[in-house]
């Protein structure tokens, strides 16, 4: 069965062979778009987070066949440069496995709330697990990214 969708701005088609194939599996294994990571396949870790028609979702829990004609943005297409730069600058990346999902969640948060409090950030990132950083530097990075985006002409 062929599914066509938009991924990071490009029209793509994927041939899937079972109805329950996840968007994450299709992105990684059929389309070679390995930005979204697979750590749990049960919605717990958030490393597979993408924007589906603008909403943050775990791509491991979306059936690819539900995405016909829909818009998918991965870490490649969803994340403004100042967000990425802030993560590097603040030491919010160690092994990096959680980073693509976190960047998508942060991009979503800052798209809705240009100046989030620590509490806003913790609630927005509650679905993204990081085994390395202890989260403090991630929170620093979100504040730095917010400042960067505010200073950037849009």
């Amino acid at each position: 069965m062929k599914v066509t969708m938009r991924v990071d701005g490009a029209d793509v088609a994927a041939e899937i062979d079972r109805p329950g194939e996840s968007l994450l599996a299709t992105l990684r294994d059929r389309l070679g778009r390995t930005g979204s990571k697979n750590a749990c396949e049960q919605g717990e870790c958030g490393s597979c987070t993408v924007l589906l028609d603008g909403a943050p979702v775990c791509s491991c829990l979306v059936a690819t066949a539900q995405c016909e004609g829909r818009d998918v943005k991965t870490v490649v297409g969803a994340v403004p440069r100042p967000v990425r730069d802030a993560f590097v600058q603040c030491g919010a990346v160690q092994c990096g496995f959680c980073t693509p999902g976190l960047l998508v969640s942060v991009a979503d948060l800052l798209g809705r709330n240009g100046d989030p409090s620590d509490l806003d950030i913790r609630e927005a990132l509650a679905g993204n697990l990081c085994r390395c950083t202890g989260y403090e530097k991630i929170i620093d990075a979100v504040h730095t990214a917010a400042a960067g985006l505010a200073g950037e002409p849009r």
């Binding site: 069965m1 062929k2 041939e15 899937i16 062979d17 079972r18 109805p19 329950g20 996840s22 396949e41 049960q42 919605g43 717990e44 958030g46 987070t49 589906l52 909403a55 943050p56 979702v57 775990c58 491991c60 829990l61 979306v62 059936a63 066949a65 539900q66 016909e68 969640s105 979503d108 609630e123 927005a124 509650a126 679905g127 993204n128």
Partner: protein, 292 residues
């Protein structure tokens, strides 16, 4: 080797409820999927391998809520994120419960219809729906039927939903007074409830509504606790002893078991604490709002 022919299987994408129930009648093997936050976990872990699926996310009819005067009719496909963002003023108990579900990713995708269809005793929508006396709207090729929420849950992960039926909506009475939802878990996000409690107070009719989650084979109400005598004529007489008595009656209504998330004893204890706290909060809120 010749290229393999594209695999053939059915993935139905109905555009209307009438078409969806017809497809479900013709293809009983097709598994409905909404947000996928319960179903896809089972698929990914090979606990189930649907030969065919029926996508509910294309049904615009299911994806909206409407104000019906005294009630709100919530389409089964409305995700938690929208219940929290749009219904907190009229359905504060349900909105508070929706906000505790999973994470932003789960709340933007997971639906109230999926929570009902899964019918887990721990599902967070159930206690506020019980406390407010909601009604579940179910459609099939036979027509539409309405099941009172108290008759919907039949056992762990078993409900009144029959093969060939879809949940189309849930109708929830608007809050007539303060409401509370309390949930016990190991952190503030991403937890399946160890136990949970919802309370609705209607100062006009002087009635309490209760809902208990994750402390029995099905979500429960606590009729004995709802009947507790409240000092309506002299609200200042409300005291901790009364709140504690209410908590004891709620705990007595629970039928918890020991499991990985907690023991039956702990659940009963936590429910008594939550229920007493919830009653104190709604009573205070009701009497702040209507000063004597």
């Amino acid at each position: 080797m010749t290229a393999a022919a594209p695999a053939r299987f059915d993935f139905h994408r109905p555009a209307a409820v009438a078409e969806a129930v017809r497809l479900l009648a013709e293809h009983p093997e097709a598994v409905p999927v909404a947000g996928g936050t319960d179903l896809m976990v089972a698929v990914n872990y090979r606990l189930t391998r649907p030969e065919a699926m029926l996508d509910l996310t294309g049904l615009d009819e299911l994806r909206d809520w409407t104000d019906e005067g005294d009630t709100v009719r919530i389409g089964s496909g409305v995700p938690y994120a929208r219940i929290t963002a749009e219904l907190a003023a009229v359905l504060p108990g349900l909105a508070a419960a929706a906000r505790t579900v999973g994470s932003p990713q789960i709340r933007s995708r997971g639906t109230i219809g999926g929570n009902l269809a899964t019918a887990s005793p721990a599902g967070d929508a159930h206690p506020p729906l019980l406390a407010t006396g909601a009604s579940v709207e179910i459609a099939s090729t036979e027509g539409v039927r309405h099941v009172p929420i108290g008759e919907f849950y039949l056992g762990p992960k078993r409900s009144a939903l029959r093969p060939g039926e879809l949940i189309t909506a849930v109708t929830v009475p608007k809050a007539a007074g303060p409401q509370q939802f309390l949930k016990v878990g190991t952190r503030n996000a991403m937890v399946i409830a160890v136990c949970s409690f919802a309370l609705a107070l209607d100062p006009e009719t002087r009635r309490l509504g209760t809902g208990i989650g994750s402390a029995g084979p099905v979500p429960l109400t606590a009729p004995d606790a709802e009947a507790v005598e409240l000092p309506w004529s002299d609200p200042g007489r409300f005291d901790d002893a009364l709140a504690d008595e209410f908590g004891r009656r709620v705990a007595a209504a629970a039928r918890p078991i020991d499991d990985v998330r907690g023991t039956a004893d702990y659940r009963r204890h936590a429910l008594a604490v939550c229920a007493a706290r919830a009653l104190r909060r709604v009573w205070t809120a009701a009497h702040e709002r209507n000063p004597r």
